[in-house]
Subunit: 321 residues, 2 copies
């Protein structure tokens, strides 16, 4: 499905746009629908609502034996929070739909929620609802997060302009590296730094807000499926091209350039900054490094400069295992 997802989403977007009737004089109105990290709903007050959903399926997105249950609880919520971060928002309420196999160990479920609530508490998020059902095929979790942002300040994917600098938070490819090691049987769940980083990655909420409040980011999204495909999405939404520099891409020592370019699940922020604003950008925010990796360009091409030579950036979708 992954290969056809864009087509599918494009189609849905057309149908949704054509058919969804918006009542007049409504208090809530859709500012941004399908196609960004979150939907943005304007409210009559001074805040806009952000809404995101994320589906996590055993056997597709994770294997139960590859991480402690509390790491999975953390990740389930973290994926939603990362989408809120990518709009510059503050998460407020979470809704969790959870399908569990009949015979599942109650301690596993307890630990799942322990990881979930630890992150919820740290992020000021209230679990406001959800649904629990029996599953015939492993653990399935759908997370919905509602956040808020001061009116009109949500940072969309579509605001990048030629000349804007391209930046990322943290380092890329670490999660994919840990996943590769797991595949090769080199890791025991929870034991190594790489895996801990992958398992309990903190959503970049403070950084997203910091950039949005100061109007430093012209476009922003989180890197969930891999830098190349997510940069392609940002550029498509903005109607621009880009050039990035291989050597500039921050990655852990043991991570290959390929994994840093195309590996998924890092949940770092990818954002663009107009050049005149870039001088206001610090090297670090809350201890996390910000790195400039390239520039937005006219046209639609994505380019990679590697060893002094320019090539087309291959855009590879992140394949869940």
């Amino acid at each position: 499905l992954k290969g056809t997802e864009r087509q599918f989403v494009d189609k849905l977007r057309r149908q949704a746009g054509r058919r969804g009737a918006v009542p007049r004089r409504a208090s809530f109105a859709l500012r941004q629908g399908i196609g960004d990290d979150c939907a943005v709903i304007s409210s009559p007050g001074k805040k806009d609502l952000l809404v995101t959903t994320d589906f996590l399926l055993e056997g597709v997105h994770f294997r139960r034996q590859w991480q402690p249950a509390d790491a999975l609880g953390h990740q389930t919520l973290a994926r939603g929070l990362s989408d809120i971060a990518a709009m510059g928002g503050t998460p407020r309420f979470a809704f969790l739909s959870l399908a569990l196999p009949a015979g599942i160990d109650a301690r596993w479920v307890d630990r799942f929620f322990s990881g979930f609530f630890r992150l919820a508490e740290a992020s000021g998020v209230t679990l406001a609802g959800g649904d629990t059902v029996a599953s015939k095929s492993g653990v399935l979790a759908d997370i919905m997060v509602i956040g808020e942002v001061p009116r009109g300040t949500a940072v969309l994917r579509s605001g990048a302009r030629p000349g804007d600098e391209i930046w990322v938070t943290g380092r890329l490819g670490g999660a994919a590296t840990a996943l590769e090691q797991l595949r090769r049987g080199k890791l025991i769940a929870g034991r190594t730094q790489a895996l801990r980083t992958r398992s309990y990655h903190p959503p970049r909420l403070a950084i997203g807000r910091w950039l949005a409040r100061r109007k430093l980011a012209s476009a922003m999204m989180d890197v969930s499926d891999g830098l190349s495909i997510d940069l392609a999405r940002l550029c498509q939404a903005s109607g621009v091209g880009a050039c990035i520099v291989a050597d500039a891409i921050p990655r852990p020592r043991q991570t290959s350039l390929d994994l840093a370019l195309h590996g998924g699940e890092d949940y770092e922020l990818l954002f663009t900054v107009p050049p005149r604003r870039a001088r206001n950008l610090p090297n670090r925010i809350e201890g996390v490094r910000l790195t400039r990796i390239g520039q937005i360009q006219r046209g639609r091409r994505l380019r990679l400069i590697r060893a002094g030579r320019e090539e087309l950036l291959p855009v590879l979708g992140f394949e869940h295992f």
Copy 2:
């Protein structure tokens, strides 16, 4: 899981209440969390937000061959809309997380969305986002609906008081009757009236709003798992007991009392009305019959009057097949 769901939800509610920090001076605040048809979020404007999620799994909630794809698309959205109706609200935005098996027929998916969008259009709902992923185990759909209601007017489950009359919309047990016929192989999908009624049941949005605006309903919920268990939930939330009359329960001609009492998926409204307000209740709203089936009482017992004798009402959870 179904048998332990209440325990599980109770536990979640305690954890969510204990741990979820609510920022001060926040614009949005949770008025009603886990344990009603929808979460109610107050906003700074004149409207409260309603949020509901509902998980629909192939092999648990439905079988693909038992209904046309467009009926499943309708049902996926209708379940969420029914929760909004049960609060007296107006649905505005839907978010759909959909997992599809790799080899699924594209025409099936088209028809699914055709049913989904037909109901969305009729209900004034915009598809504002969602997530599509590959499934390794059949079609999985999680629907989230956001609605609105004038501030403070959401009808909760917890407002029923001793002496209130108990009412239902439409007829009960029809969906379970169709399901039984399907199980016995007596129906071909889409062919009979019973099945059409089950497949394309209209959410009771207009009735829910009508009752809420006039402040006629002291408590309300939708009948999704069966009258007995849903009445038990309403009574538990309100801290009351109830007595209902078997002969008064409206049901189709071919439906047994047992299915009318304990069958699920009817998506009618169950509501209570203070006696002094009951005179304002019409027999029908928008062509749908309203029927008084009993009375709220002190204590915690649920009673059934059958053939002139009073017995305890058996509370049977609806078992998905």
